[in-house]
Amino acid sequence: MQQPMVEFKNVIKEYDDVQILKGIDIALEKGKFYTLLGPSGCGKTTILRIIAGFTNASAGDVLFEGQKMNDLPANKRQVNTVFQDYALFPHLNVFENVAFGLNLRKVKKAAIKEKVIEALKLVRLAGYENREISELSGGQQQRVAIARALANEPKVLLLDEPLSALDMKLRKDMQYELRDLQQRLGITFLFVTHDQEEALAMSDEIFVMNEGRVLQSGTPVDIYDEPINHFVADFIGESNILPGKMVADYQVEMVGKQFECADAGMRVNEAVEVVLRPEDLDIVAVDQGQLVVTVDTQLFRGDYYEITAYDADQNRWLIHSTNPAKDGQRVGLFFEPEDVHIMRFGESEEDFDARLESYEEED
C-alpha cells in the first residue's frame, strides 16, 4: 500500500471535557474521493478542521505524507478548504479572490493571471474575473470557492458540506462536476456531508460516522449492501430492520418464519438484526410470496412508489415498487437469499470484515 496522504492515528478531540472525536483512525490515499458521512454533531467537520489546521487534536497523531503535522499552522499546510458558506472575501472581486493564495506566495503577476484563468476555466466560470462576489448566484459563488482552493494546487482538497446551500437540481449537477474534477486533477478530495445520496454518488470510499466514531468505512456499494449495524443501515438509504435469530449458517428466523440468507459465521441461535432494502422486495401474488402483507399507504416518489404495508404480526414493511398497489390489498413479498442482510449486535468493523472474509473464502 502506498504512503497515505493524510493519516489519523487514534485522534481524540475534546472541548470542555466533552469528547467530540473518540479515537479516529483513518487513512486517505492519493487521488481518491473520500466522504465523511454522518448526522450533524457526529464530529465529521471537526476532522476536517483538524486536517486544515483550524483546530488541534487533543491526543493522537495527524500525519501528512508520513510526517507528523499536529502543530503545523494552517497556512503551512498543503491542503485547502472549500467552506460551507464559501467564505469568499466580499471586498475582493472574483479574480482577486482566486488569486489570494498566489499573491501571498509572491508568484509572478503573469503566472498568477494564467493560473487564475485556468482555475476559473476548470469550474466553468471563464470570463467572470471582474465580477463582484455579491453579483454572483449561490452556485457561482460555490464554483469561485472551489477555484480559489484549487488555484493553490493543494495535495488534499477539503470540502465542508459545500453543496448544502444549493437547490436540488444544482446540487446534482455539482455532484457530477466535483467527481469529474477530482478524477481529472487526481488529487485527494475529502468531502463532508450528512446527505447519504451525495456520499453514495460521488465517493470512492465512505466513512460513516456517529457520535465521534467511524462506524464503518468502505466503498458505497459495500456500505449499502453490507451495513455493519442498525445505525448504518438506517442512515444509508431506506431499510426494513427486523429482529431475528440465526438458526444455522445461511439460515435466519424472523417474523416467525425461517429464511435463507447470505451470511454465516455466527453462533447458533444468536440474536441478530435483519436488514431488507425496500427496493429488494418484490410484490407478487399471495400464494407465491414468502410473506404476506397488507398494503396500508403508498406515496408516489416520481421514479417509484413507496409502499407501506403490515404483516400479520403488525411489523411495518417498506417496499419500493415501480407499479402501484391498492390500499388494503393483500400481497405476497418475494426476496432472494442475498437480499437478506444479517447484522450482529455490537460487532466491530474489524470483526465484521474478518467474519465476512472467513466465509467468503469458503464459497
Partner: protein
Amino acid sequence: MRKKQWLYYLPYALWLILFVLAPVALIVYQSFFDINGHATLVNYTTYFQSGTYLKMTLNSLWYAFLITLITLLISYPTAYWLHQTKHKQLWLLLIILPTWINLLLKAYAFIGIFSQDGAINHFLGWFGIGPQQILFTNFSFLVVATYIEIPFMILPIFNSLEELNPSLVNASRDLGASNWQTFTKVILPLTMAGVKAGIQAIFIPSLSLFMLTRLIGGNRVITLGTAIEEHFLTTMNWGMGSTIGVVLIVAMGLIMLVTGEQKAKKKVTNK
C-alpha cells in the same frame, strides 16, 4: 390609516426643526451681521484674512487629528482583543461605563489626578522626579481628550469585528496567509466601516472641544471651540462667533463626505 402616518413623525420633526434646523439657520444668518448689527460679509473676510483665526483653525484640526489618531491606535487593538476574549459583555460594560459619567465630573477628576499634589506627582515623588507640571500642558489635554473619546472608537470597531464572518479568517489562513497578512488583507479592509464610524464620532466633536482646553489644557491649546465661546460669552461678537460656527459646520460636512460610505461599486457586505 395611511394618511395619519405623518403623525408619528411629528414629535421628532418638531424637535428637528426647533433644535437642529432653526439654530443652524440662525447661525448662518447671524454670521452675516457685524457687532453693530449691520449686514455685511466682514466676518468672513476677517476670518480668512486674519492669521489668528487661520492658525486657530489649523490648531483645531491638528489636535483633533492627534486625538483621533491616538484613540484609533489604542482602540483597534483593544477592540480586537475584546472580540476574541471570553467575557466580552463584562469588558464592554467596563469600557462603556465611564461614558455614563458627566464630562465635567471626569474633567475635574483629572484636575485632581494631574495637579501638583495629585496622585501622579505623588507617584513620581517616590522616584525623586516630581513634582512635575502636568496639568495645563498639551500632554494632559491629549490624555484626557483621548480618555474621553476611546469608548466611541472601540464600540464601532468592536461591532464591525463581531460582524466579520470568522470563516473568512480561516479561509485566509487556509490559503497560506500568516496572521499579519490575514489582518492587513482581510480583517482590516472588512472592518474599515467601523474605523470610519469611529473617526467620524471623534474627529468632528474634537474640532470644537473647548471645555477641556480650558480645564485641562489651561487655555494653552486654543481651538475654534474656545474662540466661539469667547465671542459669544466674552466679546459678545455673535456675528463672528457664528461665522466660526459656519466654518466648523462646513468642515464637518467635508469630513463626513471623505470618511462616509462611498457609493462606489465596492459594496462591503459581510455575510
